[in-house]
Symmetry: D4
Subunit: 220 residues, 8 copies
C-alpha cells in the first residue's frame, strides 16, 4: 500500500460543502487534510467546520499558496533528513511555488524558499547558486517564457523539476510557452503540468524520501 | 562548474563527419563521448574513426537504443551507490528506454531494466512491483495513451519520471497523447519530452547522485 | 422512421423559456421530455411550468446529472432485457456518467452504476470485475489522463464506450488529454466527445436494444 | 482472462523480421496471427516464413485492407450469430474499412460490406437503408468532412461506430475534420481514432459477441 | 470607389457610447446604419439616441439576429432583382443566419428563410429542395458537425456559402468542427468564419448584385 | 439531379491504374474527364490509355495546374455568358489558380487570368482594377500571409472567393496563416480550403451559371 | 547594467494593493513608475495612493491605452533625437498602439501617431506615406487579418515592428491570425506578441536610442 | 519606390531552372541576385548558368547559410556606417544565422558574428557582452527552448531581433517552443518566424540604414 504521499482535495470545481466533507473524512481517517486551490471564502467555511468537528485540531490556510492544511491533535507529522529548494522567478510564480512548498512540508522535507531570481536579472540568480547547490532536489517555478529552470540546470548539478506557471498572454500564454520551453530545454530538466505545484511537491518529496532513507539506513 | 552530467552529441540532423568530429573532441577533452540517435551507418563510420584516433579506446554501439559510447583508455567511469529502474511497456518503447539506460549507466547508476509491463496486461505489472519498490527512482517509458506511469505511481512510492514515446497514429499520435496524459496524471509524476530518453536519464542520474551522496557521506 | 432514441433538449445556451417550451412540446408529441445540462433555477421553473400544463405528469430532476425527465401520465416507458454498466472513476466524473445513466434508463436499459474505481486505486477496480463482466456493454467515464477505459478494456471482454470528462487544468486540460488517450488506447475502445454523456447513453442504449432483440426474438 | 479479442501485430514501424517473429509466435501460441498495416513486400516475406514454419497453415493477405491472417491447421475459428455492417463512403475509405472487416471476420461475426454510399450521392445511401437496418451494429468509415455516420445515425436505430479516414488536405486534413465532426455529430455516434479499423472491428466484434450470447443462451 | 457594401458597426467589444456615436455618424454620412452583435440594453440606448438625433428615422432591432438597422427619412434602400436563400439547421443557428439575412436585406436582395432542415431529419431537407433550387445563391448556417452545406451541395446546383455556427462543446466545439468540415466538404462549398453572418451576407449580396446587373442590363 | 458540376478525379493518393480507370469511366459515361493533382508520369500514362480507348478524343494536360482534361469526340462543352477573373499573387500561387481556371473553363465560364499582383507591389494591383471590376466573380489565390483578397475586397465590389495557397514555412506555414487571415479579413470574402482550386472553381462556376441564366432568360 | 528600459508593472492579474505597492517602490527607487493594463478603478486607487506618498509627483492615466505613469518631482525624463511612428488600423487597435506610444514617450522618443489607415481603405494609407517615410522606425498595430504591416513594408523602407491585436472572433481570432500573418509576411517585418504594446514600445525605443546615439556622438 | 531591400529568390519549392531564371533576371535588372535556401546541386547549376550569361560577374555560394549571391561586374554594393551583431547559440543555429548575415552584408551593414554562446554555458555569453554592447542592433538565433535572446535582452540595451530555429523534437519542436518563448520573453524582444534569417536580416539592415543616415546626415 502507498503511504508516503498525502492525498489532496482539489477544491477547484467542488462546492464548499464537498470540500468540507472530504477534508473532514481525510482528518478522520488519516489524521490530516491537505486542500489545494482554496479561495478565501471556502477557506473560512472549511476552517470553521473542521474546528467544530475536531476541537483541538490545527488548521492553517496559506492565502498566497491557496492551500489549507488540517492536523488532528494526535497527528504525528513525518520529518525527512533531506533539503528541497523551491525557487520562484517572480510574484506571479508565488502561488504555484507555494503549493509545492506546502506539499513538501506535509511530506516532511526541509524546504528552502528562494524568490526573485528571474532570468532578466541574472546576478540575483548567480548570488543564489551556493544555496541551491546545497539542496538534494529543486522545484523551479517560472511563467512567461519559463527560461529559469534551463538557466539553473546549466549551473547546478542538483535534480530540477520545472514548474511552468500560467502567466503571460497572447500566443503561448497560459503557461504553454513555459511548458514547451522546459520540455525543449537544452539543459535537461523534468517537468510537471502548468501550475501543478502539488505534483511538483509530491515528486520532489519522493526524491527527499529516497535521500532520507539513504541517509538514515544507508538502504532504501 | 558542472561536472556530473555527460554532454551528449545528438546525431540526428548532423552529418556523419560532424558527429565523428564532435565525438573525437569529447573523448579528447573529457575521456568519453556519448552520442544519441545514431543510425547504423553513422555508428560504423564513427566507430572506425574513433578507433583510429584513439587506438586503445573502447567504443560500444547499442543498435536498439541508437546510442554510441566511447571511453578513452584512461577514462575512469563513475559508480554510484544507487538503483534506477527503467521500465518499458512494449517493443516500441525500447529505443527511448534504452537511451535513458545508457545515459544512466554512463552516470554510474546501477540500472535495472523491466520490460513488457503494459497496462493491457496488468498482472505482469503487478508481478514486477517488489522489484520496482526497491529502486531509488524510476524512469517509465510508454507510448500510445501512456497510462503506465499513472498506474505505477498509484502502486509504488518511488519517484517516477514519465517518458512519453512517439508511437500511435491519428489524433494524439507521435507521443502527444502520452505526454498530455502524463502531465494530467491523477497520480502525480514528472515528465520529459517525447522520446527524450537522454533527459530522463540525466535527471534520474542526478537523483541517483543525491542518493549516493546521502549514502556515502550522509551529506550531499 | 427512427423511434428508439429519445430526443434531448440541451438546456445549455438556451433561455429558460425556450427550454420550457421545447420540453412541453416534447411531452405533448411524444409523451416524454429529456432535458440535459439543466441548472437548478432552470429546473425549478421548467418543473413548475410542466406541472401546470400537464397536471398528472411525473417530472424528475437529477441535480448531479443535471438532467430533467418528464413523463406524461399515459407514457409507457420502454423496458429492455439488457444490462449496461456505467462506471465513473471519481467525483468529477459523476455528472457525465449521470447524464449517460439517465439517457439509458429512458431507453429502457437496466443500469448498474459503479463508482470510485480510479486507476490510482486499482484494487477497487479489480474488486468490481465480476460485476462488470456480467454487463452487455459498459460506459466508462474518466477525466484527467482518462486511463480507466484502457485498464478495463485489458481486463474484460465487454464492449466499452469511453466517456472523457472535462476535468484537469493546464496542457491537455478540459478533457483533451482524456479524449486523446482513449483514442490512442493500446486496448481498443470506442469514444464519444468530452462530457457527452447523452451520446454515450444513446449508443450504449442502442447496443442494449440489439441485445434485447436477440434475447426476445432471437432475431433483430 | 481475456480471450475474445485477437491480438494484432501492428506491422507499421516494425522490421519485417520482427513482424515475422511476432506472427510466428502468435500462430504457435494461439493458433492464429492477425497482422495489420502490412505492405506488399512485408506480406510476401512473412507469408513465406509462416508457410515454412507451419507447413499446413493457411495464410491470407488482403492488399487493400493491408491485413495478413494466418491460421494453424488445427485452428478452430469462432462463429457468432450476429451481423455487422461495414460501410464505406468511397475508394479512399476502403483500407480502413477493410481492416475493420478482417478483424470482425476473425472474431467470427457475419460481415456485410456496403460501399459507395457517400453523402454527395444520397440516393445510394437511401437505397441501402433496409440492409443496414437488418444489422446488429454498424462500422461506418468516412474521410474528408466525415458526414456519413451522422447522416446514417439520423436514419437507422442500429449502434454506429464512426471510423474517420485520413483523406483530405489543408485545414482539417489527415482525418482531423472527420474525427471532430463525428465527435460533434448532432445524431450521436461513437468514434475510434483516425484509420483505426482494428479498434472499430474489435469493439463491433464485442457487440456482436454480446448479441450472439443473447441469441444463443438468452443470457450473456 | 466601393459603394455597394454597407459598412457595419461591430458592437461586440465597444462601449454603448461608441456604438451610438458610430451609428449616428453612419446615418449622418450614408443615410443608414447597420450594427451587428448588439445586445438588448445596447439596442435600447442606441435606439433612443438615434431617435433623438434623427427625429423621423426608422430604427429596427432584431433580438434574434442581434442586428440594429437605422434608416434616415431620406434613405432610399437598394432593390435587387435576385433571390437569396438563407438556410438554418436548428435554433442555435438562428442568430448567425439572422445576421446574414439582415445584411442581405440591407443590400436589397430578396431573402427567403428556410429553417429546421438539419441532417438528422433529412426528409424536411428534401421537401425544401424545390424552393432552394429557385434561388440565385444560398447561405447555409450549421453548427456541431456542420454537415448541412455538404448535403445540400450534393443535391442542388446553386452557389453555396457555408456559415459555421459556434455551437457544440468538447473537441471541435465553438464551431471549429463545422468550419473544418465545410472546408473539407466532399461536395465543394465556400465558407466564411464561425458566426460570420455579416461576411456571408455581404458576399451573397455581391453575387445577388452580379445577377441583378445581368438581369437588368444584360451586362454588369 | 445535379448536372452542372464536373466530377473530378483527385489523382493524389491513387495509383496510376486507378486514375486511368476512373478517367475512362468518366469519359464513357459523361463524355468528359477532369483529373486534378496529376504529376507528369501519371499524365503520360493516362493520356496514352485514354487515346487508345477513345481514338478521337481530345486529352490535355496542364503541367503547371497539374490538371488533365479529356473530351470524347461527341462531347459538347457548355458555354456561359459570364466572366470570371482568376488572380494570383506570385509564382507559388500558379498551381492552385490554374486548377481553379481549368475547372471554370470546363464549366463554360469565360476566364481572365491576372498574375503578379502581390501586396508587396501594390501599383500592379491598382493597374489591374479596371479589368477586375468588369468580372462577375473573382477567385483570388494567395500564399504566405494571404493579404491579397483582403486588399482587393476593399477596392472592388465583385464577389471574391479567397484561395489560400500552401506556401511559407514555420508558424502558420502550409497555408494556415493565409486561411486564417482570409477568414478574419476586415473586408469580407468567402474562402475555400488550402490549395482547393477545384472547390474555388466549382463555386465560382456556379455563380457564373446564375449570372448566365439571368443574362439569358432573365430568370434562373 | 541596463538602464535605458523602464521596468513596467503589469496590472493585469495583480490586486490593486500590489500594483500600488510596486508603483510606489518604482517611484522611490527610479523616480518613475510605468503601469500597463490598468483599469479605471485600479487607476483611481493607485493615483490617490501615489499622490499621498509623493506629494509633488505627477501621475497620468490614459484610459484608452490603459497606462498609468508617475514621475517623482525630481525625475528628469530622457529625450532622444529620434522619431517613431505608431500606426493603428482601427478603433480596436487603439489600446495596444497607445501602450506602445506611452512606453516610447517614457523612453524619450518623439512619437507621431497615425490612425485609421486600414487596408480596407487604402487611399488613407497612401496619403500617410510621406509622414511614415520620415520616421526612424515604425510600430504598426493591426487586428483581424493583420495585413497593414505587410502593406506598409511594401511601400516604405523604414524598420517595421508589427503589433498584432486581439480582435476578431472564430478561427484565428484573439489575434492569432494577425500574428501568423505578420510572421509569414511576404514583405518582411519583425513582430511582438498579441497586444504586446509594451514590448513593441521598448524595442522601437531601443532603435530610437541607437539612432539618437548616432546623431549625437556619431558613435554609439 | 522601395530601393533599400534586396529582393530574394527563395529556392525552396522552385525548380533549378526557375531559380536560375529568376536569378538571371535579378542580375540583369538590379545588378545583383540573392538566392536563399539553395542546396548544393542547385547552387552548382545556377552558378554555371550565371557565369555563362554574365561572364565577369562574381557568384558566391555559402554552403552553411545556403545562400547564393551574384554581383554583375558593374554592381556597386552599398556600405552603411552601422554595426550589426549576429549571435548563434550552437551549431544547429548556424544556417539561419548565416542567412541573416548574408542578407545584412548585401545591405551594406558591418556584420560581427558571435557563436557558441548558449544559455547552458553562461560564462561564454558573459564574456561576449562588451562586444555585443558595441553593436547598433543584434540578431540572436536560438533553437530548442530559445532562451538566449531573453537572457541577452536582460543584459544589454541594444535592439534585439530574436530568430527562432527549427531544432528540437517532440512537443514544441520544429522551432515552435523557441518562437513562443521569444514572444513571451520577460525581457522584451522582437521576433521573426522560425528559420526566417532573411526577414531578420532585412529588418536589422533597415535599422542599420536608419543609424547610418543619422550618422551621415544627422537626419534621415
Ligand atoms: N493542485 C492539484 N493539482 C493537481 N492534482 C491535484 C491537486 N490537488 C489534488 N490533486 C490530485 O487530484 C486528486 C483529487 O481529485 P478529486 O478526487 O477530484 O478531489 C488527488 O488525489 C490528487 O492526486
Ligand atoms: N491497426 C491497428 N491500429 C491500432 N492498434 C493496433 C492495430 N494493430 C494492432 N494494434 C494494437 O497494438 C497492439 C500491438 O502493439 P505492438 O506490441 O506494438 O505490436 C495490439 O495489441 C493491438 O492492441
Ligand atoms: N458581425 C460582423 N462580423 C464580422 N465582421 C464585421 C461584423 N460587423 C462588422 N464587421 C466588419 O468590421 C468592421 C468594423 O470594425 P470596427 O471598426 O471595429 O467597427 C466593418 O467595416 C466590417 O467590415
Ligand atoms: N529565406 C526566406 N525566408 C522568407 N522569405 C523569403 C526568403 N527568401 C525570400 N523571401 C521572400 O519571398 C519573396 C520571394 O518569393 P517568390 O516570388 O516565391 O520567390 C521575396 O520577395 C522575399 O520577400
Ligand atoms: Mg545541472
Ligand atoms: Mg507513487
Ligand atoms: Mg476488453
Ligand atoms: Mg440512429
Ligand atoms: Mg451543388
Ligand atoms: Mg468588395
Ligand atoms: Mg519596407
Ligand atoms: Mg535589453
Amino acid at each position: 500500500e502507498r503511504t508516503g504521499v498525502p492525498e489532496a482535495v482539489l477544491a477547484d470545481g467542488k462546492t464548499t460543502a464537498e470540500v468540507a466533507d472530504l477534508a473532514a473524512t481525510a482528518v478522520e481517517t488519516t489524521g490530516r487534510a491537505l486542500c489545494t486551490r482554496v479561495d478565501d471564502p471556502t477557506a473560512e467555511t472549511v476552517t470553521t467546520a473542521l474546528a467544530e468537528e475536531f476541537p483541538d485540531s490545527n488548521v492553517e490556510y496559506d492565502e498566497r499558496a491557496r492551500t489549507l492544511v488540517a492536523h488532528a491533535p494526535a497527528f504525528d507529522p513525518p520529518a525527512l533528513d533531506a533539503d528541497v529548494g523551491v525557487v520562484a522567478a517572480g510574484t506571479a510564480d508565488a502561488a504555484a511555488a507555494g503549493e509545492a512548498a506546502t506539499t513538501l512540508t506535509e511530506m516532511g522535507a526541509r524546504v528552502t524558499r528562494v524568490s526573485d531570481v528571474g532570468v532578466a536579472g541574472l546576478h540575483r540568480t548567480i548570488d543564489a547558486l551556493a544555496d541551491l547547490r546545497a539542496m538534494d532536489v529543486l522545484v523551479v517555478a517560472a511563467g512567461r517564457e519559463g527560461a529559469l529552470p534551463t538557466v539553473l540546470a546549466g549551473l547546478v548539478d542538483v535534480p530540477i523539476i520545472g514548474l511552468p506557471v500560467a502567466s503571460g498572454y497572447g500566443h503561448g500564454g497560459a503557461g504553454e510557452a513555459a511548458l514547451a520551453g522546459m520540455l525543449q530545454s537544452c539543459a535537461p530538466v523534468t517537468v510537471v503540468n502548468v501550475d501543478a505545484g502539488y505534483a511538483a511537491g509530491v515528486q520532489a518529496g519522493l526524491v527527499a524520501r529516497s535521500v532520507d532513507s539513504a541517509r538514515t539506513d544507508g538502504r532504501r
